[in-house]
């Protein structure tokens, strides 16, 4: 049952991604393609170079190219740095894996620290578990405190 639910969720998420690849929009690609002169994404640049790249994307969308075909053409002309996200292969894969590894290591460190902390708190809890004071001892303590106040 769980497996079916997971498969349905995966399909539900994959469908828009596939549709986006087959029918990309300029707005979508503007956020994923860099302006090589200003080093920002196209949606943040109005430079002449950025305008030309936007016009090229519009032409390719009208010609029926998919998102990956347009990206491939841009990489052929400009090199891989034209894409805002590094490719998920070779050395560039590190850019994707390192943050995940960092998060995992961080989570492990926090978990270990929490475990250590709870262990050191146990003796305090043991102390708190001790019952009320002996009435004689309590009386003596009160007398001494009173004497101390005077």
């Amino acid at each position: 049952m769980r497996l079916l639910a997971a498969a349905a969720l995966a399909l539900a998420l994959a469908a828009p991604a596939l549709a986006s690849d087959a029918h990309p929009t300029l707005a979508e690609l503007e956020g994923q393609v860099m302006c090589p002169i200003c080093h920002t994404t196209l949606d943040q640049s109005n430079s002449a170079a950025a305008q030309r790249i936007k016009a090229f994307i519009v032409r390719r969308i009208r010609a029926g190219d998919s998102k990956s075909e347009i990206e491939d053409r841009l990489v052929r002309d400009f090199g891989p740095s034209i894409l805002a996200q590094p490719p998920k292969r070779g050395f560039d894969l590190l850019a994707w894996l390192l943050p995940i590894c960092g998060l995992l290591v961080g989570a492990l460190a926090v978990g270990f620290a929490a475990w250590r902390w709870t262990r050191t708190r146990e003796p305090e809890r043991a102390l708190a578990a001790v019952g009320p004071l002996d009435p004689q001892l309590e009386r003596r303590l009160d007398e001494e405190l009173r004497h101390f106040d005077e």
Binding site: I53, D77, I82
Partner: protein, 186 residues
């Protein structure tokens, strides 16, 4: 033992931060230090960086090594650059006037859609060799904008002249002519 582990972890964290800081300092210090533009500005006229780039028209490739024995004007341009449009006819005239003496004008189109660049060259009737390069060539040569022009002599060495901006404007014209003279003289 836990104290040792704690000290070890702290030392590791400090070492990691120091390492990243050292990397940042190294990157800042070495940034653009060895580009062609910086070398020429310091009067260092060593060998020009080798390249082998596809022709813009798609017919073969051009390498700098294949032009050894000729004086080469290396001109960086892009189709979206208005000053490049103004200076291209001058480059065409220089190429036609000096080709008999062994001068080649090589136009390197970069940071540009190659289809737009082909249209640009057709429209202006450019006949000198044009190649298309990936974005990284700007970093290798220290190009900060287009047009920019360098000169390589017959032995493949850089000439002590660098024209930033159109070769027609103001002092650039005199520098351009000096670059041609020095490159041809070698």
């Amino acid at each position: 033992m836990p104290r040792l582990v704690k000290l070890g972890a702290q030392a590791l964290a400090v070492a990691a931060v120091a390492g990243l800081f050292a990397l940042l300092v190294w990157r800042v210090v070495h940034q653009n230090r060895n580009t062609v533009a910086v070398q020429v500005a310091h009067g260092k006229t060593g060998p020009a960086p080798a390249f082998n780039l596809p022709r813009l028209d798609g017919h073969g490739r051009v390498s700098l090594a294949s032009l050894r024995g000729k004086a080469v004007i290396v001109n960086f341009w892009a189709s979206w650059c208005a000053p490049c449009k103004r200076e291209a006819p001058q480059l065409e005239r220089s190429w036609k006037a000096h080709s008999g003496q062994g001068l080649v004008v090589l136009g390197i189109d970069a940071n540009d859609v190659s289809g737009d660049a082909r249209h640009f060259a057709r429209k202006l009737g450019l006949t000198y060799p044009l190649v298309h390069a990936p974005t990284t060539i700007w970093d290798d040569w220290g190009v900060t904008g287009v047009p920019e022009t360098f000169f390589v002599d017959r032995r493949g060495r850089l000439v002590d002249v660098h024209v930033a901006g159109p070769v027609l404007d103001g002092g650039n014209k005199a520098q351009f002519e000096r670059g041609i003279r020095l490159a041809l003289r070698s």
